[in-house]
């Protein structure tokens, strides 16, 4: 489990940021994006993917716990 921050990108997409590694990546896709179910698998531009427990859609930016999937 790693601490990450998801924030709104300028181009309308999402940005993934991991403070521990100073890693900023574009989010390519997020599994669930509905208002009451948000989260799931998170695909990054670097090819990695992470998993966030689904939740009600948070106000961004938001610190979250994520699990690496690969």
């Amino acid at each position: 489990m790693a601490n990450i921050i998801i924030s709104q990108a300028v181009d309308g997409g999402l940005t993934f940021y991991m403070p521990k590694k100073d890693l900023e990546e574009k989010v390519l896709s997020l599994e669930f994006t509905e208002a009451d179910k948000w989260g799931g698998e998170l695909k990054l531009a670097s090819g990695q993917s992470y998993y966030i427990d689904p939740m009600a859609e948070p106000r961004l930016p938001k610190s979250l716990r994520a699990r690496r999937m690969d």
């Binding site: 921050i5 403070p19 890693l23 900023e24 930016p61 938001k62 610190s63």
Partner: protein, 490 residues
């Protein structure tokens, strides 16, 4: 010499890498690349990795990042270099972050406070010494607004509990005492020190009881983050923002105070100049207080106009008009500067190697003068910095991360730039090689370079360095006559 094309640049990198042993070569190859504007994938060099043992690196340590960069310039606090005397003494007042105030009375920026660790402190621990020291400081300098404890390496090694001492001392003196765990051995460069310092501000400055209630919040409040006022940089930025109608309530951390930092969570927008050293706290304020942040660049009129408009877009029409007015007001002055210096500088090539933001930020200023940046690199940047750099540099520009002394010299020998911009450790090597050089950390004791006023000084300095008559006198007379004879025979 004409500019290298992409293949030539790639070949140059391979050639330079030849001298390394196999393993080192493999590692260094990842840190060097040639920018390709046609490449959509935007591949970046490897960065923020430990430097190879045996090479000459120019990096600093986490203490340098925290005490030297982020905390040091906060003028009304006393920053104790906790540990042996050298770290603080040899970095004292070297960074030229200007401030207003009476040093030793209400400001302490250029002073060095240290616990001067001796053998007995290493053996028996230095906590008692620290607590005594803080008491003495408060007695001798009663106008200080707080104390920060900047740990040096031994503190982490012997396991002193500076947090506990800080807490009890804070109660004793009735002022904040902030422990910062920035031991030099942490991380690979000063970059982690910035992060640790940002986290210390987050944990110990914001939300402190009784802090941050001095100023009535207004709708045009902004804070300047990541401007260290080197040679007065923050002042020449600040006047532009104020002129367009914004109220700058805080400067981090050049000419900054503790009260300004406490005020920052109430601003409407954070203006971020040095992304590398202050993005952590900006992200925190965005999440916790809902304050958006925007990166800006105040080097050269093109980038300044772009940045002023970008900043104004966060506010209402009166600010947008203000921004246009400021741009229009300074445009003729800037045109005069460009008209004067561009003919003398046009077409000259520059190679840069600086810290964490200038390798990309100053490119615009050079381009305004008709100069071209043919190589650039960072000491301690991360991947996100290189991503931002790729958009700013042209095709076939050399990119080098944590460049070694050898590589940098070889690159300069082969690329033959007309000007090299880097720090004091590189300065004399290149000047002795006959290459004009400007220090881009300390502005070579000139400055400010930020803002419109700064650009005029920047242009003058570049001209002064590049077109200095000394560069034509590099060959001693007895050799010059031999060469002239040879030329005459031929």
């Amino acid at each position: 010499m004409t500019k290298l094309n992409k293949d030539e640049a790639q070949a140059l990198i391979q050639e330079v890498l030849e001298v390394y042993p196999e393993k080192a070569k493999e590692d260094r190859a990842k840190h060097l690349s040639v920018n390709d504007t046609s490449d959509e994938s935007q591949k970046c060099v490897t960065s923020n990795r430990k430097s190879l043992p045996g090479v000459m690196t120019i990096r600093g340590c986490a203490y340098a990042g925290s005490k030297g960069v982020v905390w040091g310039p906060i003028k009304d606090m006393i920053h104790i270099s906790h540990g042996p005397v050298g770290c603080g003494q040899y970095s004292r007042a070297g960074r030229r972050n200007y401030y207003v105030g009476t040093t030793g009375v209400d400001s302490f920026g250029t002073m060095n406070f240290t616990s001067d660790f001796q053998e007995k402190d290493i053996v028996f621990g230095g906590d008692k010494k620290l607590s005594k020291l803080i008491g003495e400081i408060d007695q001798l300098f009663p106008l200080n607004r707080g104390v920060s404890v900047q740990s040096e390496c031994p503190i982490g090694l012997i396991g002193d509990d500076i947090e506990a001492v800080s807490k009890s001392s804070s109660k004793e003196i009735g002022k904040p005492v902030i422990p910062v765990r920035c031991e030099g051995f942490r991380g690979v460069s000063q970059s982690l020190g910035h992060h640790i310092a940002n986290d210390a501000i987050r944990d110990h400055v914001f939300d402190r009881e009784g802090g941050g209630n001095d100023v009535e919040p207004g709708q045009y409040d902004v804070a300047i983050l990541g401007d260290y006022n080197i040679g007065g940089d923050a002042w020449s930025s600040r006047i532009l923002l104020e002129e367009m109608g914004l109220r700058v309530v805080a400067q981090w951390s050049g000419d900054g105070t503790l009260a300004e930092m406490e005020q920052t969570p109430k601003v409407k927008l954070n203006l971020l100049h040095c992304y590398r050293s202050m993005n952590y706290i900006s992200r925190h304020m965005e999440e916790k207080y809902g304050i958006p942040w925007v990166e800006y660049n105040f080097f050269g009129p093109t980038k300044i106009a772009e940045s002023l408009r970008k900043i104004a877009s966060y506010f209402d029409d009166s600010i947008k008009e203000g921004a246009e007015k400021v741009i229009a007001k300074y445009q003729p002055m800037m045109q005069a500067v460009i008209d004067k210096y561009k003919p003398r500088l046009e077409g000259k090539k520059v190679m840069l190697y600086v810290g964490g933001l200038r390798p990309r930020h100053v490119i615009g200023a050079y381009e305004d003068l008709g100069m071209e940046v043919v190589g650039t690199g960072y000491e301690f940047a991360h991947k996100d910095d290189y991503e931002r750099t790729n958009q700013d540099v042209g095709n076939a520009t050399l990119i080098y991360d944590d460049v070694t002394g050898f590589e940098f010299e070889e690159f300069v020998k082969r690329v033959k730039p007309d000007l090299v911009g880097s720090g004091v450790k590189e300065k004399y090597i290149f000047q002795k090689m006959g290459v004009p050089f400007r220090q881009m950390h300390s502005w070579d004791y000139s400055g400010p370079y930020h803002g419109y006023d700064g650009f005029a000084i920047f242009a003058k300095d570049m001209d002064m360095t590049l077109n200095n008559p000394c560069w034509s006198s590099m060959t001693p007379p007895w050799k010059a006559s031999e060469e002239a004879d040879k030329a005459a025979v031929a």
